[in-house]
Amino acid sequence: MIKVENLRVNYGSIEAVRGISFDVPDGGISTLIGANGAGKSTTLKAICGLIKPASGEILFNGESIGGKDTVAIVSKGISLVPEGRKIFADLTVLENLKIGAYLRKDSLKDDIDWVYSLFPRLEERHWQLGGTLSGGEQQMLAVGRALMSRPKLLMMDEPSLGLAPLIVSDIFSIIKEINSKGVTILLVEQNANMALKTADVGYVMETGEITLSGSGQSLLENDAVRAAYLGT
């Protein structure tokens, strides 16, 4: 679905991403794991056009999208759940969902019902302002909002950040459920354990480069990964 070739991204003179290449296969769950500052979020931002790559290719279903405008990229079927959730605090829960479908002109009812069935809490609170939700509820809303555009590829930046362990496992089981509906997923995580257990394909990023890749299971069993990210 996504093919990244030799992608480089700079912030001024800082090289955040140094020529990485990876594939996100159709219909699967892929994950990028790594420590803070490894360049994971930057990679996601480059894919959705929030940062212009310095060089390299980003292909979405064979079409080059590197350096295109965010609105154009989003309209092709890519959706990002941003780090820190970025809920619109002054919009109601329902408005947050509707704005996720901003580019669509058809009926949203089925999609809203689907999001409510994934996250019943959002239905209970649909009239509340987004800013009044708890962290876990905001994460649910951020995922629901991203689904409203009916993405082919859903990218999630640290969905487990700052959430209680029980809620984290809820979020991961919902990621699998969303994937089972045919949405390809690219997950960026510091929670390597949960991410690798969930993912079909994993990539390990360190200081702007991909140092290891393989199936989620093989990375879970890799000694270097265990030592560096799993603490065992």
């Binding site: 959705c48 965010t70 989003v74 941003p82 619109f88 919009l91 509707k98 704005i99």
Partner: protein, 301 residues
């Protein structure tokens, strides 16, 4: 100090205060909307106000259009002017520090004033009279222009319409989202340039409505005519809480009432009328810097 203050004088002043407040509200909304979305104090707004008065003047005197058509055409032309100013002077600075945009707006302001002096000449012109608004109504012993009755109605309709647009429509939702977070708004597929252009068009069109009210009430036009109403309406927006549309309306009426009532009750101060706005600005900045309905921060820490 208060001599011969009659009920008639008081009622007349209330009517006057309401009409001045209605006028201020139309212009103050433009300041507050632009601030809300760009965090920019748009110094060019007072000159957009001025330009719109000239639009009305030329449409009626040179193109000889009847006033209803001229007013509508002027409102539309001012909306276009707002879009052009934004696209030419602010959009190229979208990624620049906020101070650069502020300086650009001061530049646009001087540009339009001097354009006015060169093209329209600095000589005062007479705003075309419209007897339908300017004829005097007498109720008992109270005299006022019909305008004073129409102005609050026009303002009320405009404000209700604007609040509906912002609270209930898709573009309004996009405006609220864009005003909080450009990056996330883009991720939703919102074209933020379109949203910002729309904001400028609406703010400028309302300024034109305010300018028409001003011209009918004080029928003199010159290239610097926008400065004082512009400053006062900016102050009204700050008093109400800049960024908040209802606040701008509240601030505008409060300022209108203060100005008129102080002159009514303390006539000796009438020559300092224009200074009250600035005194109120200082007072509000000292006592309640966020303004009466100042934006509350719902952000989680």
């Amino acid at each position: 100090m208060i001599q011969n203050l009659t009920t008639e004088m008081f009622i007349q002043s209330v009517a006057n205060a309401i009409s001045v407040g209605s006028l201020y509200a139309m212009v103050a909304i433009g300041y507050t909307m632009v601030y809300g979305i760009l965090r920019l104090i748009n110094f060019a707004h007072s000159d957009i106000f001025m330009m719109s008065m000239y639009f009305v003047f030329y449409l009626i005197t040179i193109f000889a259009l009847p006033w209803p058509i001229a007013f509508i055409a002027a409102v539309l032309a001012t909306g276009v002017l707002g879009i052009v100013v934004e696209a030419a002077a602010y959009r190229p600075l979208r990624e620049a520090p906020r101070i650069s945009v502020l300086i650009s707006s001061i530049g646009v302001s001087y540009l339009m004033e001097n354009f006015g002096v060169v093209v329209f000449s600095g000589i005062q012109k007479q705003f075309p009279p419209v007897p339908a608004f300017q004829s005097v109504v007498v109720i008992g012993s109270i005299y006022f222009q019909k305008l004073s009755l129409y102005m609050p109605v026009v303002t009320a309709i405009s404000v209700v319409g604007l609040l509906y647009l912002i609270d209930k429509t898709k573009i309004g939702m996009a405006m609220r989202a864009t005003s909080k977070d450009y990056e996330t708004a883009k991720l939703m597929g919102i074209n933020i340039n379109t949203v910002i252009s729309t904001t400028f068009a609406i703010g400028s069109m309302l300024a034109c409505v305010g300018a028409i009210m001003w011209g009918l009430k004080y029928p003199k036009i010159e290239p610097y005519v926008g400065i004082m109403p512009g400053l006062k309406c900016f102050i009204a927006a700050v008093i109400g809480g800049i960024g908040n549309i209802k606040g701008a309306v509240v601030g505008a009426y409060l300022l209108g009432f203060m100005e008129i009532m102080i002159v009514l009750f303390i006539p000796a101060l009438s020559s300092y009328k224009d200074a009250f706005a600035f005194i109120m600005l200082i007072a509000i900045l000292l006592l309640r810097p966020a303004g009466i309905l100042g934006e509350k921060k719902a952000d989680k820490v």
